[in-house]
């Protein structure tokens, strides 16, 4: 997303010597991920003799990523680059909630309920949602999936809540 926002320059929280905030933050985050991976694989066995231990390759890639992250950060400091993109909160929040809801509901409540519920939660992700059509489309999609996955594709999925089946 390279299209820079056209409105007035916002005040950056980053110091002024950072010329490309997008790369700067991106590089730091990569370094953090690499450091975390190095920590997580620190208890694994390293080289013994000629042969690799379980930890050799993860450590190799971790160190490589650390170096690359540092390079991206340096590029972010030295070269003019795009500012931080503006994050929307509504879309990511409700889509994540919908996914989470599905994951939590699918075992106890079955597919029909979970699909409908997460459809409605995901629909909250945009202000354009009109509830009447959303509910109709959600119901149709749920019915379609209830036919497609178990019957047409032969994937065993539980349809209804466990307490109803028992």
């Amino acid at each position: 997303m390279s299209d820079a926002p056209s409105h007035a320059p916002e005040k950056s929280i980053l110091p002024s010597w950072v010329k490309g905030p997008q790369d700067f933050i991106g590089g730091i985050a990569l370094m953090a991920i690499a450091a975390f991976a190095l920590w997580a694989s620190s208890d694994l066995q390293g080289m013994h003799g000629f042969s690799f231990g379980a930890g050799t390759a993860p450590r190799m890639f971790g160190i490589l990523l650390l170096a690359l992250g540092a390079a991206v950060t340096v590029v972010g400091v030295l070269t003019e680059g795009p500012r931080l993109a503006v994050y929307a909160w509504r879309g990511p929040l409700f889509v994540s909630l919908a996914i989470l809801c599905f994951a939590l509901c699918i075992r106890p409540m079955g597919m029909v309920f979970s699909a409908m519920a997460s459809f409605l939660i995901a629909a909250l992700g945009t202000a354009e949602t009109q509830w009447k059509e959303t509910i109709i489309v959600g119901a149709c999609l749920t019915a379609f999936c209830a036919l497609l996955f178990p019957y047409a594709l032969g994937l065993p999925l539980q349809m209804w809540p466990t307490f109803l089946i028992r």
């Binding site: 790369d23 000629f50 379980a54 996914i99």
Partner: protein
Amino acid sequence: MGDLFSNLGLGFSTVFQFVQWAPPFLGGLSIPIPINILLCLIGALVGTLVGVLPGIGTIATVAMLLPITFGLPPVGALIMLAGIYYGAQYGGSTTSILVNIPGEAGSVVTALDGFQMAKQGRAGPALAIAAIGSFFAGCVATVLIAVLGAPLTKLALAFGPAEYFSLMVLGLIFAVVLAKGSVLKAIAMIVFGLLLSMVGSDIETGASRMSFNIPELADGLGFATVAMGLFGFAEIIRNLDAGGEEDRDLVQQKVTGLMPTKKDLKDSAPAILRGTVLGSILGILPGGGAVIASFAAYTLEKKLSKHPQRFGRGAIEGVAAPESANNAAAQTSFIPLLTLGIPPNAVMALMVGAMTIHGIVPGPQVMQKQPELVWGMIASMWIGNLMLLVINLPLVGIWVRLLRVPYRLMFPSIVVFCSIGIYSVNNAPMDVVLAGVFGLLGYWLIKHDFEPAPLLLGMVLGPLMEENLRRALLISRGDATVFFTRPLSASLMAISAFLLVLALLPALRKKRDEVFVESES
């Protein structure tokens, strides 16, 4: 030559295989159905259907539809996936011509002239030329795969672990050089992918790595999970904050008169030919693929044309060349996958994921042990292209109507469909959560201008690279120079180094950016 025909014969007989189907409601009566052709047809149809939806690219389409092929036998599943892939690609060009929203990077250039043609009321010929060009390119590429397949496999069998490792390095470097955007960031993404592939149990020692005692992580991060998160969910979230509705100025006129005129055909024939050649070459290169092929083909046409100013104003060559190149590259990129077992791009990486789920380890052995799988797939490519031509032209009206589906209804449907798909792979709710996490990660990556495709490629190649590196070093008794002393490996490494240096040189970087710049102007 005789080999070639017997191989292709095997392929076509696999594709035309009939299965006796005896549904209970017919009372014991069985009907023969051509199962593989049917799967190819369904794949192409469904692929187009999803690929047409604006904002959903080829990779996302293939990732999303991956679970529906899991219940099938391996040959059928791969044929269907291949069908989905072409369908998605064709769907992407339809959207770029009709709505000016390229569904995927590969059809960005098609939108330049295609949409202009549509505005002039010539959407029909544009779509027809795209289909005809793709079909022609597909035919050529299919023959090319069949011709190159066997000899390359023989070459691959001579490869030792050191050569394999060097070849993978070369592939990854190619992927970086031919990709859009910063070289450094693309390399960082590949290494990130390699690191992610380390999660799970170590193949040799069985030690659990970075799995934090989460049972779902013990087998490693599911490939389908990561792909759906990074491409499916992330794209949805990204599209949401772009405001799905604002930039959809759909061509409102009815699409009439599909047939291109004689002049159209005459103008586009050489463009199709050049596009096919260029695309076929770029597709075979590891790391190459549809995106660079269509950009390069468009640039070439513009350079060769006597009236370059026509480009961007509805020149039919501007549709014909990139579309042919696109499709040729999409198919020839199967060559490294089928012969060497190395996926050259993200879509092929998804194919590897699908193969692994069916218990097939891609590589030269597959062609020898399961020839009906490989040749069946190759033959199905040709059939798939024919089907696209036959299905899509009459169905354009339906695709246009699909484009009118508002995003506010589309995205919750995709969220639900993806969730069910991921859950159905292992019946594990944790996988759905992980895909959500990767969706957020993908959103963050997009916001910071990191490309998710190299990450996926790194993730697939990770275990292969580790295994070959280990073996090579074990055989050479710990001597790391083995990669530079064995002639084949050394030359592969030398090419990699050379390419990387070239990519970092400012002069060439400018040239490379020039090829991609068309999309912005």
